[in-house]
């Protein structure tokens, strides 16, 4: 299997006034194609910094970061923007959809920043992505006409539309109730089964057990890294939930 993310001796320091905060103190991490990795840790453990660096939103102070074989650690702001556009899909806790903009247009957004995609191709890809997340009949709906779960599906479709090498989800189920969380996890598992590499930051252990591997951060180090044994299947958990009274 091809290595998508290859991080070696990565360090990240922040300067807050006169104090230097060591957010990451030498991290090695390899994520191979088709993996579904949970990144866990308490707040302040460095997991958010890790996600920002993996997502090319931030650059490391030291170390090597190869994304899909390309060293992105030393890239300029604009180069990183282009990398994000082509190779990364983001899913956020609070969806971050544009208000008063239809689901379809929200999904089209990443392709608007790709000069090689024409308007017809953009529309087709966006429609395909929405179909893949099961929202073919909600394309013209505005975000405020959609439930939280549906909004997160739109956000997932948006992260898929540019066919990224890795999808980064930051607490993507954090705002959702248990049932909807399982629905979303079931969707992620389905995407993973189809070969998508996913990195998922969470602090819920049942959510983490839906993935293939978990990486736990503390104080800027990886303290535990293990394959998930007895992996949970979100679709089964969904069926096991008591049926809601209508």
């Amino acid at each position: 299997m091809k290595t998508i993310i290859d991080i070696t001796a990565l360090k990240k320091d922040y300067h807050v006034g006169e104090v230097t905060v060591h957010a990451l103190r030498g991290v090695d991490l390899k994520i191979r194609e088709g993996e579904f990795v949970a990144i866990m840790g308490a707040s302040g453990s460095g997991k958010s910094t890790m996600l920002n660096i993996i997502g090319c939103l931030d650059r490391p102070t030291e170390g090597i970061y190869l994304l899909d074989g390309v060293n992105v650690a030393g890239m300029s702001k604009n180069e990183r923007a282009a990398i994000r556009n082509l190779k990364i899909g983001f899913v956020f806790q609070s969806y971050n959809l544009l208000s008063r903009t239809s689901a379809l247009e929200n999904v089209e957004l990443p392709l608007m920043y790709n000069p090689n995609v024409g308007s017809r191709e953009r529309r087709e890809k966006a429609m395909a992505a929405l179909e893949a997340v099961g929202l073919a009949d909600r394309m013209d709906h505005m975000p405020n006409q959609l439930s939280g779960g549906q909004q997160q599906r739109v956000a997932i479709a948006r992260s898929l539309v540019n066919d990224p090498v890795v999808i980064l989800a930051d607490e993507a189920t954090g705002n959702l109730d248990t049932r909807t969380s399982y629905e979303i996890m079931s969707l992620f598992q389905e995407l993973n089964t189809k070969g998508k590499t996913i990195v998922f930051v969470t602090h819920e252990s049942d959510i983490a057990r839906c993935m293939t591997r978990s990486v736990v951060f503390r104080d800027g180090h990886i303290i535990r890294e293990e394959e998930v044994k007895s992996r949970l299947i979100a679709a089964e958990m969904l069926q096991a939930l008591p049926v809601e009274e209508e």
Partner: protein, 406 residues
């Protein structure tokens, strides 16, 4: 992002806040409309004054008595009695740039016909007087030089005088009216000139031979002014120099003495009078310009609000691949669209307002294309200038902070 997409995104963003976009544009709309209307009014009043002055006569020059000293005391020009018929004769004989010359005397008084009477002014001139003032006779005939020589008691009346004494539209030629108790036979009616730029009725006049007014009404030997026509507009300056030379000699002024008369030309008068409206135009335009500036500040203000409000959107756009320059252009295009749309609407309203003013004032109001182009260019510049800083601020946001912004 390519330009087409950027414009589409900007239009969508403005459409999301229709009321706010409209109110922001309103500042620019009012600014542009007032600039265009004010400049059009200024231009219109200037044109109206120029038309009035042109209607006074063709290439006209006139000599008025100037200040003079009497035993070291400066005398007012009205007390001067230095201009005489001899000066007129000398100008006629010697100044070849002057094609027509006439003395002018005037007196105010009551014109009486039967039981009707009307206060008016009688002007005395010679046969060339009407030609100099480019005034036509609609019925009857002009006064002749022989009538002037004989102090004949004949007169021409303006339309207003005829209307007031004889009734609306009646031709009084051949009738006899009295002015200051002296009977005048009406030999003709003057063509209508209407009001001048000061609202004065130019048809409220009588014209008689200057000798008649001088001797029978005023009982004086001097004249009040000399009216002349230069051969052409280009000869106006030459005529002025020739007249000055002749009058200095006939008035026996020594080298070191100031002129005791003043020569004015129509151009000078036009310049003096239009300079007032020009100042007014600049003033009105400046006030309108300030409102345009305030409109621009309104755009800047709303763009700042918009950038703050949409911080998360900016963060999102950056995280999915928007470069700083994409964000900068997005907000810049929004502000340019606001100001240019506002400008276009303002131009339309400016035209409409000018037409309304024209309908109410009957000034010849003309919207200058230069002011339309100016307004449009200024709008675009305002859009770029006032949009730049908010757009710049948006583009410099850090995507991580922007995404976390509450």
């Amino acid at each position: 992002m390519n330009t087409g997409n950027l414009i589409k995104v900007a239009i969508n963003a403005l459409k999301r806040n229709k009321m706010r976009s409209f109110l922001t544009m309103l500042g620019i709309i009012i600014g542009v409309a007032s600039v265009i209307t004010m400049l059009a009014i200024g231009q219109g009043s200037k044109k109206s004054i120029q038309d009035q002055i042109a209607s006074m006569g063709s290439n006209m020059l006139f000599v008025m008595p100037g200040n003079m000293r009497m035993g070291g005391v400066q005398q007012g020009s009205s007390s001067s009695q230095r201009l005489t018929v001899k000066d007129v004769a000398a100008i006629r004989a010697e100044c070849d740039a002057v094609v027509a010359v006439s003395p002018e005397v005037r007196s105010s008084g009551q014109a009486v016909y039967g039981n009707a009477n009307w206060p008016t002014t009688i002007y005395g001139g010679n046969e060339q007087y009407l030609e100099i003032r480019s005034w036509g006779v609609v019925s009857g005939r002009n006064i002749t030089d022989s009538e002037a020589d004989g102090s004949a008691k004949v007169c021409l009346v303006g339309r207003t005088v005829a209307d007031e004494l004889f009734g609306e539209g009646i031709d009084p030629t051949g009738e006899t009216i009295r002015f200051k108790n002296i009977p005048f036979r009406i030999i003709g009616v003057l063509e209508e000139k209407g009001q001048n730029s000061f609202g004065q009725d130019q048809d409220d006049v009588m014209i008689a031979p200057y000798t008649t007014v001088q001797k029978r009404i005023l009982a004086q030997t001097h004249i009040q002014s000399i009216q002349m026509s230069a051969g052409s507009a280009e000869e106006s300056d030459l005529a002025e120099a020739q007249v000055e030379e002749v009058l200095r000699r006939t008035h026996r002024l020594r080298e070191n003495e100031d002129n005791d008369f003043e020569i004015r030309s129509q151009e000078e008068l036009a310049t003096t009078m239009t300079s007032v409206t020009e100042i007014l135009t600049i003033l009105l335009g400046a006030i309108a310009g300030i409102s345009l500036l305030v409109g621009g500040i309104g755009i800047m203000n709303i763009m700042y609000v918009s950038v703050t409000e949409r911080t998360r959107e900016i963060g999102l756009r950056m995280s999915i691949g928007g470069r700083s320059v994409d964000i900068l252009l997005q907000f810049l295009i929004e502000s340019i669209l606001l100001s240019v749309f506002g400008g276009l609407i303002g131009i339309v309203i400016g035209f409409a307002a000018s037409a309304v003013v024209e309908a109410f004032t009957s000034w010849p109001i003309s919207v200058m294309w230069s002011s339309v182009i100016l307004a449009f260019v200024v709008c675009t510049v305002i859009g770029v200038f006032f949009g730049w800083y908010p757009a710049r601020r948006a583009s410099e946001l850090d995507p991580i902070d922007a995404l976390r912004f509450e």
